[in-house]
């Protein structure tokens, strides 16, 4: 799944997005509420908050144990550079 705002886009692997534990970790980690958990425990990206991203990497830290790196934060204003 991917959502784009004006300055920031977020991409999450579909398989990972369906994982309630990962969804919970992302929801807890983001300080500006970009992630939310749906009723069935899956992940939702709150598009309204995407441009509030402060590039803190906490979402990346929350999933760092996953070798597939399922979350990408993309800086649309920087030729699509991915937050590392």
């Amino acid at each position: 799944m991917r959502a784009d705002a004006t300055f920031i886009a977020v991409e999450v692997d579909d398989a990972a997005a369906a994982d309630p534990e990962l969804a919970r970790r992302l929801t807890e980690a983001c300080p500006v509420d970009i992630f939310a958990q749906t009723g069935d425990g899956g992940l939702d990206i709150v598009e309204l908050n995407l441009d509030e991203c402060v590039l803190c990497r906490l979402c990346l830290d929350a999933v760092e144990s996953d070798p597939t790196h399922p979350v990408k934060v993309i800086k649309l204003y920087d030729d699509g550079a991915i937050l590392a």
């Binding site: 300055f7 500006v32 441009d51 920087d78």
Partner: protein
């Protein structure tokens, strides 16, 4: 926050400074009762927070209670400079031998209160200072240590006052200094301070202004005086534009993007940072610019909040462009403000490169911010460009813009 005269008199009375046996009312019939109690000639004074009461007919003299009632009725219906009176003060017409002036004001440059005294009262102290400078005594004093007897005596005596008058004035001046400090005032003025035939002194009028930020510290006094928490007592009511600014600031807890004041120019300002707003506003004016507004942004507002403020300013009738300027920021992120103001332009259908005359916010996350500004072709400046120069460039662009 300014006090009405009747409130200022109450503060003076509580401080132990003699006042006349006045009464305050919002009802003409009650004015008659007060005049009856006083039992002699009275003065009926409109209670408004504006000058020119006497000229406007807001101060009238009455010889009888019936006359006092009639005058009160007229004055209660009389608007002065657009201000409806809060009520009327019914004051005994004192037989005064001489009018004096005693005041304390906050000297923002010295960061100390300054006591001002003059044996020439009843007129503006500025006029006395200009026409009879030797009749104005001044002395700064500590806002921690109380004004001493000696200091009070010195300031009064410096104007030529001697003898019994000097001895009686010293405690009054000292109490005025104390009430100024204790109540976090920026102005406490008794004018005139009347000397009666028996040599005693009485406060005949008073003006007081408390520091707005200190209101919370004096909530008990304000409640006792009947000052509502919602009363701003500003010189004018907030405009719809200014109220909209308050709503923007209240939209979330992050940072500040508000304190908007409306002006009638064509250059919208999104400005702030540690006094930067005032400096930048002055700089724009010094370069011949006409600000459409004043505002304060800082403390790391959210993108939405910066966007909301910029949209408000951009939509103000007459605004041709906005200038986004701050001094060097450490607790506000450059990239977040950049996103906010660019988003405002985009959402309103404007080209950010056209609408933003200049973006001059150096500091935290500036590299990321400058990338955003470059992406949208916005003219920006780093810390090598002074606030003054940034203001000049913004004004220059407005002057070249089609009207």
């Amino acid at each position: 926050m300014r006090f009405f005269e009747y409130e200022a008199r109450e503060i003076i009375k509580r401080a132990g400074i003699p006042v006349t046996d006045y009464g305050f009312t919002t009802d003409a019939a009650e004015a008659r009762e007060i005049a009856q109690r006083i039992g002699g000639p009275t003065v009926i004074k409109s209670q408004v927070l504006t000058g020119g009461r006497m000229k406007a007919g807001g101060v009238k003299f009455a010889d009888t209670p019936e006359e006092a009632e009639a005058h009160a009725r007229d004055i209660l219906a009389l608007e002065i400079n657009g201000h409806a009176p809060r009520g009327v003060l019914v004051d005994p017409r004192a037989e005064v031998e001489q009018e004096y002036y005693a005041g304390v004001v906050w000297d923002g440059t010295r960061k100390q209160p300054v006591m001002i005294f003059s044996p020439v009262g009843g007129i503006d102290i500025e006029q006395v200072a200009e026409e009879q400078p030797d009749k104005v005594g001044r002395r700064h004093f500590s806002n921690i240590l109380p004004l001493s007897d000696f200091q009070a005596k010195e300031v009064v005596a410096s104007t030529g006052v001697t003898g019994a008058a000097l001895n009686r004035l010293v405690p009054i001046v000292k109490r005025l200094a104390s009430l100024f400090v204790e109540n976090d005032m920026i102005l406490a003025e008794i004018n005139p301070l009347g000397r009666l035939a028996d040599g005693s002194f009485v406060a005949l009028d008073a003006h007081m202004d408390i520091e707005n930020e200190a209101r919370g510290r004096h909530s008990r006094l304000l409640a006792e005086l009947g000052v509502g928490e919602e009363e701003t007592r500003q010189a004018r009511e907030a405009t719809p534009f200014e109220l909209a600014g308050e709503q923007v600031d209240a939209m979330d807890h992050r940072g500040v993007a508000g304190n908007v004041t409306e002006f009638d120019g064509n250059l919208g300002l999104v400005i702030g940072a540690g006094g930067g707003s005032l400096t930048l506003f002055d700089a724009v004016r010094a370069h011949g610019g006409k600000p459409a507004n004043y505002c304060e942004i800082g403390g790391n507002p959210s993108v939405a909040k910066a966007c909301g403020l910029a949209k408000l300013v951009l939509q103000k009738p007459g605004v041709e462009r906005i200038a986004v300027m701050m001094s060097i920021v450490s607790n506000t992120r450059v990239d977040i403000v950049a996103r906010g103001v660019i988003k405002a332009c985009l959402e309103l259908g404007y080209d950010p490169a056209e609408k933003i005359a200049i973006f001059r916010i150096p500091g935290a996350w500036e590299e990321e911010g400058f990338k955003i500004l470059e992406r949208y072709g916005v003219d920006y400046a780093d810390r090598s460009v002074s606030l003054n120069e940034a203001a000049r460039r913004a004004v220059e662009k407005i002057e070249g813009a089609p009207v």
